[in-house]
Amino acid sequence: MTAPLDPRKGQPAAAATLAQVRKPLAHDSAQKHVTGTAAYVDDVVEPVGMLHVAPGWARNAVRGKILNLDLDKARAVDGVVAVLTAADVPGINDCSPALGDDPVFADGEIQFFGQVVFAVVAETRDAARRAARLAAVEIEPITAIISPEDAVAADTTVLPDYQFRRGSPETGMTAADHILSGVMHIGGQEHFYLEGQAAFAVPQEDGGMFVHSSTQHPTEVQHTVAKVLGVPDALVTTEVRRMGGGFGGKESQANQWAAIAAIAAAHTGRPCKLRLDRDDDMIMTGKRHDFRVEWQVGHDGEGRIRAVELDFLARCGYSADLSLGVNDRTMFHADSSYFYPDAAIRSRRLKTDTVSNTAFRGFGGPQGMLAAERLIDAIAISTGKDPLEVRKINFYDAERNFTPYGMPVEEHHVLHDLIAQLEKSSGYWDRRERVRAFNAASPVLKKGLALTPVKFGISFTLKHLNQAGALVHLYTDGSIQLNHGGTEMGQGLYQKVAQVVADEFGVGLDRIRITATNTSKVPNTGPTAASSGTDLNAMAAKRAAEAIKARLIGFLSTEHQVPEDQIHFASNKVFAGEKVLTLAEVAKAAHMARIQMSHAGFYATPGITWERESATGRPFLYFAYGGACAEVTIDTMTGEMTVDRVDILHDVGHSINPAIDIGQIEGGFVQGMGWLTTEELWWDDAGRLRTHAPSTYKIPTASDIPPDFRVALYEGNGNPQDTIYRSKAVGEPPVMLANAVFCAINDAVASLKPGMIPELNAPATPEAIMKAVRGMRRAKAPQSHEPVQA
């Protein structure tokens, strides 16, 4: 019998003994993080002759024709080597992910506040930054379109409108006993990765370029650099060891900085580094999309939804970037966990003269789900029912289990079971009574409570991105080098994949050398995004390891005359029948026998069939579930708010690393909470973003997390899909656990006038809360329970 060389065909090699997988191991770089030895792009030892690049822009222009660009003063600064503009791009002046609409350097026109017009290359970063401020850019201003409302009025979009439609919402509304409607504004969010965008490019032979980049998408950086330099992809290598945070902000938006560094390096023949300072970073790079949501829901008087109409009006910015996928995902999640018998979910991708909005953890999903929770809260308030009751009667179940885009919700029992467990463990109903009693006795401070679900679709909705590669080498000393196409941005991907590979070879993690992600080792990858990093890359790495192992088993079987099924890799040993060997001994012997000990593994997610044109098929391999219960206190005189307690129960299937998964859940929740509470992007009347540093843009600090914070993993039967060790993706879903905080604030405001629906917008800053409170106080009487036509 010969060992199967391709484990995807025939019987794979013996299942691994799990010794590392499922353990709460520390992040692979934890020791380096705490000692300051983990290197980020700006920390890599600089080659001799390194130059520094700073982007230049027109500091007051929002939109306009460039009449004159005077760079003489910048060129005259001591230490300046070159000043580059669109005319200096050797290839194509574009760094967009797909549609060719993102110029590296503005050419003839400035399209948004902060658009890069030129770049200064200098001997020091300080000189480059100083010179970049000395350019004179003369502009003929054009009236800028800033808000979604402006864009609707002007009817400008970056991409065509799109909709999901099931049944007849018009008929459904007519048949409903009650109709409610409203408008909600949902703010965007700055990524605020602690490490700003950075790249450095080192010229190579034959016009090639080696690029260190802080990117979630090394392949796209490679393509972009090749495109702007006008060289084949094969001449460009991108490497990323780690990022100091990404959160989607380095998925497409890392391209431009790598491109500029590479153009500068090609122009000067010297290594060039570009690291954005914080203000430039926040002004020049895209954010989470902000939305105006127009909603209408018809229900049956018991609170059961009959029909839904949702219009998502997204501010996309000046170009398409990733707005197609983001807005599609908003639509895919506009149901949250609720069954809509008849529904129209419409999306407009509005073009505004602002920075191009982009991927951000959740990728449009959070906005869709928040809108759904607004429908539920509105129904609960107007019927006088508890919001949790209304949530539960609208959950998907065995009969009502198709989403508006036609995908079955197979694990509806997980949703029910998880929420039931959380309802109990959080003491929801007791606390509901206590909140009510508190509010009755407290004229100024009001409490709110909410328990909200998460159901998040896992897979890229752009089908071709659901693939991954890995490259595993076993060396003759028994050490293993592991490379894959996924990038490490803090989420613990490298460690999880290493745990899988270690178990495959039955060794400790000390035998595995995790190497930087590099496009010359694993080509043609997708971005590390959509929560899919582990699902895809661990599977590819496992297949690579299995293939090597299969060859070793075949070799050992022949060599020691032992049946293949009696050969095992475990406990740092290789057991071949009676024989006990070390992996090093096996590797050495296999090498002498001329056995290949390197393999490129590949994985493509099975079972996804989404066809966007016809809006049919299955976009997601599975859903990840979760639930959160939040209790807040608001001050109805100032709008200040504290989150008092949060209980979370989250479904990660069978966890590969529970410590890392808990970290993702807590971190995602707090990031979502920031989005919905303190993080406010503010543009002035001219369209200039004025919140572009942590002094004005406030992400949560340690004291903002609930003093009582209880987080647990849901213990279920694991992922019904055949994912890596039956785990589930965890990167994005927890962001939406924070909807509970927003709904709890809404609940607190609603307590001021029973029956009346607050007009609370996100983020619920003190001012937004006060605005909602004021609205409640000024209204004469609760809204009618009678049908209201929008």
């Binding site: 602690l194 945070g245 100032t638 708010m641 707090v670 942590p694 949560p700 340690a702 004291s703 800053t765």
Partner: protein, 492 residues
């Protein structure tokens, strides 16, 4: 005179003569020393990724404080021990705070981690801190993490930072003390390189130097000037650092009040302010972060008229006076008179602030202050209200009310003050005229922190709150932070 600065790093004395006036500690570490463990996250002292520890002798004891190296000028670390993340692990063993962060999964992307480690290191060495979540959150307010959600970091701090210090720094504390004593002196420092960095040792020395160089930039804590350097790329060729002037950092408490020298930091004066009024102590705690309070000074904040000032309204309401000096003159004026208009102060070219005197409220006076911001910690107020009511037999006989965020400068609400005289605490109806008067006292602006409408509404709410508290309402029923704290206490 000395033409060098001297500090300790890794047990060695480092003496530098080539210090440019505005070179930052972060640039020194990363660019000159190629010590890249310390990170730049924001360049404005708001994220804490660049946190390093400065050890100084305070009353003969080693005290480590966290500072934002991105906005600290290199010359300002003269006489201190500089500790960076590279210095903590010894003989291949992690420092206890490092080990706790690894064990409790306190890092994800790791970029903010060195800054957290250094803040935790200073907490580890702090004495007399109560072991509580509140203490830890207060220490960590200046360190932003975008990955973890803080819970594991708070746990690591609770696990590692409240035992008696037993690290290498504690073992060699005596040695460090001796080395610091050896490099501290009372000579003026003057380093002439692309301009000058000067650090006079006496007030007279300062007066002469400033009189000769009225275009020089006076620096106390550099929490604002640092931003001029890193953000505005300001060319500041003449820097006079006040941090070594003997006696200028005094904090003197007396029955009459508290005198804060111009270079007393927020940290130095925190206890004295809490002694004047618990509300003032809480306000102090919410100024910036540990890092900012360790460097920032009240004198500096007032002197450069920074609009980023949450303390002036409180000090004005308390009737504080400002002391100014120049080579040939000294004068005192009410603090509110110093702020002329946005960005403009009543300070002559060669004049400098030497101190602020804050009168202690007397037995008849009730003081309250409230800071409203988008985020509770390390944020600048959208509205800041401070109130001192003099009450005789339940009737207000005098009121001093000052607001921040309602005008281009901190400003008194004169109309409301007048309208309150004669108001009765037990009769909210008698407060109405004052509440209305606020509308004509101020015309607040709309900006990224708040709208004009919200500011006005909140200003009135704060006056109402102050009166409600003065009339005996429980703060825990009126303020979410007091409520949360009361709930925490009940749970504990």
């Amino acid at each position: 005179m000395r033409e060098t600065i001297r500090f300790l790093k890794g047990g060695e004395v480092i003496e530098l003569s080539d210090v440019r006036p505005t070179e930052t500690v972060l640039d020194y570490l990363r660019l000159r020393c190629r010590l890249t463990g310390t990170k730049e996250g924001c360049g404005e002292g708001d994220c804490g990724a660049c946190t390093v520890a400065l050890g100084r002798l305070v009353n003969g004891r080693m005290v480590y404080r966290p500072i934002n190296s991105c906005i600290q000028l290199l010359g300002m670390i003269d006489g201190a021990e500089l500790v960076t993340v590279e210095d903590l692990a010894a003989d291949g063993r992690l420092h206890p705070v490092q080990q706790a962060m690894v064990d409790l999964h306190g890092s994800q992307c790791g970029f903010c981690t060195p800054g957290f480690i250094m803040t935790l290191f200073t907490l580890y060495h702090a004495e007399g801190e109560e072991k509580s979540r509140k203490t830890v959150c207060d220490w960590l307010a200046g360190n932003l993490c975008r990955c973890t959600g803080y819970r594991p970091i708070v746990d690591a701090a609770l696990n590692a930072c409240f035992e008696a210090a037993g690290d290498a720094f504690a073992w060699r504390a005596n040695e460090t003390r001796d080395k610091l004593r050896a490099i501290m002196d009372s000579r003026d420092i003057y380093i002439n390189r692309d301009g000058f960095f000067a650090s006079p040792a006496t007030v007279d020395g300062l007066a002469s130097l400033y009189a000769a160089n009225p275009d020089a930039t006076l620096v106390a804590g550099a929490t604002d000037v640092g931003l001029w350097v890193t953000k505005h790329l300001a060319d500041l060729p003449k820097i006079i650092w006040l941090g070594r002037i003997a006696g200028l950092d005094r904090v003197e408490e007396s029955p009459a009040g508290v005198l804060m020298g111009a270079t007393a930091t927020y940290a130095d004066s925190e206890a004295a302010m809490a002694g004047l009024s618990p509300a003032l102590g809480e306000l102090w705690r919410r100024i910036g972060s540990k890092q900012v309070r360790a460097s920032g000074t009240i004198g500096g904040n007032i002197a450069n008229g920074s609009p980023i000032g949450d303390t002036p309204p409180a000090l004005i309401a308390l009737g504080a006076t400002l002391e100014l000096q120049s080579k040939d003159n000294e004068r005192t004026l009410p603090l509110e008179d110093f702020f002329l208009e946005y960005g403009k102060q009543d300070r002559k070219p060669d004049e400098f602030v030497t101190g602020v005197f804050v009168p202690r409220p007397d037995a008849n006076q009730i003081f309250r202050c409230f800071k409203i911001s988008k985020r509770f910690d390390q944020d600048i107020s959208s509205v800041m209200g401070a109130f001192r009511f003099t009450v005789v037999s339940g009737t207000i006989t005098d009121a001093r009310i000052a607001y921040g965020g309602m005008a281009g400068t901190p400003m008194r609400a004169k109309g409301a003050e007048t309208a309150l005289i004669g108001a009765v605490l037990d009769n909210p109806a008698s407060w109405g005229t004052a509440m209305k008067a606020l509308v004509s006292d101020f015309k607040p602006l709309t900006d990224m922190r708040a709208s004009s409408e919200y500011r006005m509404e909140t200003a009135r709410a704060l006056l109402a709150k102050a009166l409600m508290e003065a009339s005996g309402s429980d703060p825990a029923g009126l303020n979410v932070l007091d409520h949360r704290e009361a709930a925490d206490d009940r749970a504990a």
